[in-house]
Symmetry: C2
Subunit: 397 residues, 2 copies
Amino acid sequence: MGPHVVHGVRPLGGAVTDVIVEDGLITSVVAGGRAPADLPTLVDGAGHILLPGLVESHVHLDKTLFGLPWRSNTAGPTRYDRIANEQRLLADFQVPIAERAGPLIEHCIARGSLHFRSHVDVQALWGLRHVEAMLALRERFRGMATIELVAFPQAGMLISDGVAGLMREALEMGADVVGGIDPAGIDRDPIRHLETVFDLAERYRKAVDIHLHDPGDLGRWEIERIADMTEATGLAGRVTISHAYCLGAFPVADLAPLADRLAKLRISIMTCAPPHVTVPPVAWLRSRGVNVCSGSDGIRDAWSPMGSGDMLERAWLIALRYGWSKDEELAAAFDVVSAGGARALDIDKYGLEPGCHADFVLVPGENLAAAVIDRSPHRTVVGRGRVLARDGTFISV
Amino acid sequence: MGPHVVHGVRPLGGAVTDVIVEDGLITSVVAGGRAPADLPTLVDGAGHILLPGLVESHVHLDKTLFGLPWRSNTAGPTRYDRIANEQRLLADFQVPIAERAGPLIEHCIARGSLHFRSHVDVQALWGLRHVEAMLALRERFRGMATIELVAFPQAGMLISDGVAGLMREALEMGADVVGGIDPAGIDRDPIRHLETVFDLAERYRKAVDIHLHDPGDLGRWEIERIADMTEATGLAGRVTISHAYCLGAFPVADLAPLADRLAKLRISIMTCAPPHVTVPPVAWLRSRGVNVCSGSDGIRDAWSPMGSGDMLERAWLIALRYGWSKDEELAAAFDVVSAGGARALDIDKYGLEPGCHADFVLVPGENLAAAVIDRSPHRTVVGRGRVLARDGTFISV
């Protein structure tokens, strides 16, 4: 596609500029809104704030019940209850994944998410069915959104026969990331769990993303072991620890050596900033150089009806969770759902500069802080230079 | 106004009914949508959920900067810093309260709030200026919304010369509730603070609502003293303790005798369910018979840009804060922002039954739980039998 202009936008709430887009890339950013008059218009920005595409760094698209009639949550209180409850529901579920996750991806794109890391259940109960469905769905959205798939052993890897083999197959089929879950709390053999995860990552040259709900000292000890193995396998910069509730259980002073190690190994911490559990000290981790990203986690699934798939709302929830209210704090919350995610997911050509992919969101508002507070639904979304949503509604393309 | 029909609504998400409204009251609820065909239509409900008017039990309307250009938060970290920062900003503020709080009340009404308890600053620095402005604004909204005003000594009562006298004047002018704030932490003389508050309440036959941020054992000790004085002054059923962070600092088993006392004295607990501090154990308190209500607290003011004035969103935030996801939990969150508020504020004729005021909100959705999760902005609001908002937009009347 030849050059087109996004007229009159304010990058991150700054001064008005025109943005010229060609072949899916930002080719130039023209201060003062002075793009050549003969170029066709892609979007009339109307002075809206220009934001880079939001990054949904942790979601479970394959398990969503999005778009279906309301289903009362029937899960018991423990993590095991919830896993078993979901297995009962999804084992023979009649609505195909594409019909649930597809509309959900459109919903998320319409709210500005253009990059996703979706954990995909690999379970003995349904083998690679979820992986196959998500690989197909990724094709449907190619050229619109980046969708990374994690081979995720939700019900355990070692405790469930054949799951490590299924994970290997998932990676051979095209999954991008090796997942793991509570090496101690769920799999009950932390070292063998982590060795299996890192062996797969080394063998297939894949990234790692481990769900870690294990609390307090147990979780912290596991993070130390994840750091050991990241170092030993040369996977620095390719490892994410998701949730890491345990990091909220200590005074930050006690975490300094560990945080410095995470920073050095470029291990990202993913938090959804849930208000009902302890959470990693995000501002402090960032101040020590640790990258932090965020996600919606489950969206309308058997675990919970919560989760809206709106990463600008998530930035607001992060600010609420930590009691942030200053402009620089609201900007930090935005960074977590944008550049922080791009670092964790290693998104190529991310940003609003010439040479970056033309992936961005236009939001009305005064400045970046106000955009996070307002969470306006009136968003225009451009992915790889094409308009994908207007006024918060996905455009069928 | 003669009888009019609200056609085809589902009270709390139940079966479809017509609701007949006359002279600002609900006169009958007709199952199956069979209202007499000759009655004029007030609203075509389109199968939407009918909810009672939401109750904003704790807000600071007089201090809002709503509708003004973005103002970066410049407050220091402590409560004293914030009070001083706000005094600097508001002492000579050029935009009148009516021009800020008026549009904010309209905004809140359009989201379904029809009953407000607004704490109004009574300070030596500006005397009764805020009280006068809010009394006038209350007149402007009479017949649309119930607005209770609390004479609130934000900067302290005993530590600030003449404030107790100003509080007395505020009550004589028409304030409905005697406010208080951190009898120990701010006023530094808890017994004399509480005696002053309860003396005023007794003398003027007013309710009491005390901001209590004081933490842990200190706060709990103050709650015990509030209970003592409630009992001694015969003010059972007319006292609210706002925030009560301290109640989140103990295992619930340790709180049982105190909770039973709160229940017996019908002392309400108001929580905004903030995620960054300890919060009262809402589900447990309710299970012991303690009434709980909620509010937005500050909305876009010098304390914080947070606060949206949307009490359906607040129900969702309450559910998030406590990790609630089951239908009955989401219904409990809704109860806190509706009937719980009506009990705390002692709202007359509250509800959806014949004889109640025709104060309600129509929201699209499948059921009550889904309404809380979705927080649809497409709300129609009826106050005292008149349509006040359509599709989330206030109608100028």
